[in-house]
Amino acid sequence: MAAIFQGVGAAATLSSSPSNSFVPKKFLTSPRRSFCVPSSVVVRSDGSVNFDLNSKSRRAQQLVANAVATKADSSAASSSSNPGHELLLFEALREGLEEEMERDPCVCVMGEDVGHYGGSYKVTKDLAKKFGDLRVLDTPIAENSFTGMGIGAAMTGLRPVVEGMNMGFLLLAFNQISNNCGMLHYTSGGQFTIPIVIRGPGGVGRQLGAEHSQRLESYFQSIPGIQMVACSTPYNAKGLMKAAIRSENPVILFEHVLLYNLKERIPDEDYICNLEEAEMVRPGEHVTILTYSRMRYHVMQAAKTLVNKGYDPEVIDIRSLKPFDLYTIGNSVKKTHRVLIVEECMRTGGIGASLTAAITENFNDYLDAPIMCLSSQDVPTPYAGTLEEWTVVQPAQIVTAVEQLCQ
């Protein structure tokens, strides 16, 4: 049985970093593995409240916050005696970035307004003051060229973290990301590695309009040679950021505009999340729900309703969008025999479409029902709040889908 681990894996990449003269800090595998002790970690809601499924977005936000707090409480109970510290997701990203910049002088950040302004979502706040203008670089609005420059710098051994102020702007750098970032390791016969991290917020926000609500993971997923991960909690945000920086491969880290203010208690110790591993959010028996990023919270909200109705969904946050963690997913499918994918990508050509194909190819024999995939509508995201709500998958739809699947 393959070992699933969170942490140690980056050691291989540590030794190959050329100018890393630091002794790597000892990092512990975090005890917060929510799937290892089934009896204590199942999140069951208090049960009595029947949520209004047509709730306005503001109510949904409150519910999201509840879901996180509940999870943190239960895992705090099962973690070690060290209490950890509480922070918001953007602070967790910053902490991860800062720790890596301290640890390795080759790590630098480039992006629009990351330096003096502190980052448009405050992920790089105060880093320029601490590390200087040569390590936290304010670029002009020229995504194509500064992404290319980051890739060129990475070819020599630097480890740049390129920030797209919004993931959608990285469409302007698509050529650099696809042809240079993804392919140079291959076309040079292995001579160059590109240890770059490209990160930024994406996804549907609060009435930001069509061009600022894009889901780039569906466009980048075919590029060979890159890895894609999506963070969803402060814990995995910090862990994935650190793993991505330490990885020798180009990694695209997808954050979500609406998740930056999530609060969670994370360990004080140094830890890393495995880039290729999915996270078991809630073990269950009846149906496997695969999700990532913001939709995880819609799923957990729906899970409360489902539990009330007597269903036992298993919720997995796939985290690794490329490559998929088919080990965790496969084991889950073998157990539950029913799969529901809930994603924010559009119906056509999204992560859900690829995941459906991958599961069908590999685990067809284990499925009792066709895979259901709930995705966003194939439309540009409208501005009007009500329309925007109906563009993305809502908890009510998830509940209906599970009921249909489990008939």
Partner: protein
Amino acid sequence: MALSRFASSSRSGSLLKPLSSAISLRRPISTDTTPITLETSVPFTAHQCEAPSRTVQTTANELLTFFRDMALMRRMEIAADSLYKAKLIRGFCHLYDGQEAVAVGMEAALTKKDCIITAYRDHCTFMARGGTLLEVFAELMGRQAGCSRGKGGSMHFYKKDSNFYGGHGIVGAQVPLGCGLAFAQKYSKDEAVTFALYGDGAANQGQLFEALNISALWDLPAILVCENNHYGMGTAEWRAAKSPAYYKRGDYAPGLKVDGMDVLAVKQACTFAKEHALKNGPIILEMDTYRYHGHSMSDPGSTYRTRDEITGVRQERDPIERIRKLILSHDLATEKELKDIEKEVRKEVDDAIAQAKENPVPESSELFTNVYAKGLGVESFGADRKEVRATLP
């Protein structure tokens, strides 16, 4: 006899005028390092900076090395032409013959710590950086001994140990990469520079100006070199650029226009540019050069320009002929010796081709290697892995 041939040549416009001839006796192939002072054929034109002097210092040894290197490159490209027609080289093949002076002159001004990055017309630049003929031909024919293990092809030659960063297929995309290399050099305080080469066709790409802007803001030691062969595939420069004065298009960045068919002028300009970039940030060099072949092997090269034009340039400005005349006029070698060098070079190329033909094609497992750099002991086979293995390092 060498002198009389020199005197009877009436096309003297492009000949180098010797100011002083240090050698009066004819000697066999000279490895002399006594300096010879010459003047470049045309003066440099400068934009926002002081042009370097027309007077260049060289030695007999250097001139003969130039001759040999350029002859080798010329022979290599012509051989590649035949191999392509014999269908041993497939896909795209962009030949550099005519432009050898740029590669050779640039290399003479640099060290291996300086980085060079160029586009797809990279065979000769790769050779200048220390590549071997076998690596070139094996890569062109898709064999294991190729510099990129047969997986890159003509447009993806790289040589990491000599800081040659390729080898890029998409027009203009290598310039931001080049500015990134310069950024890394500045970050690591290398005291070295990066030469980012592009063509007159790529000069109209927006990303160039973006990268130049950032390089100028951050004071990066980046030198942007426009190899202006006057045609962007089939489109002449006057049809593609409103302002074909590429050395001026940096606006705030200084520029220099250089006769790219004169290897000594190229060397002088590159030396000047290196000094300038280390102190003052980016500079643009425009190399006025010419390619005899079409854009690539699929382009005859004669539909958008006349054959007379091509032969005219070949007669008047050919870089190898210039050096040959220079060597002969200074009595650094005899006609026969130069011919012998060419024969030697031809044999080298033929041997390398024979060796490359023997070389095996890559193993099928090579399809999946080098997609990702190894980490965590996991092998990757695409988005959905048939087999998931996680082994601790």
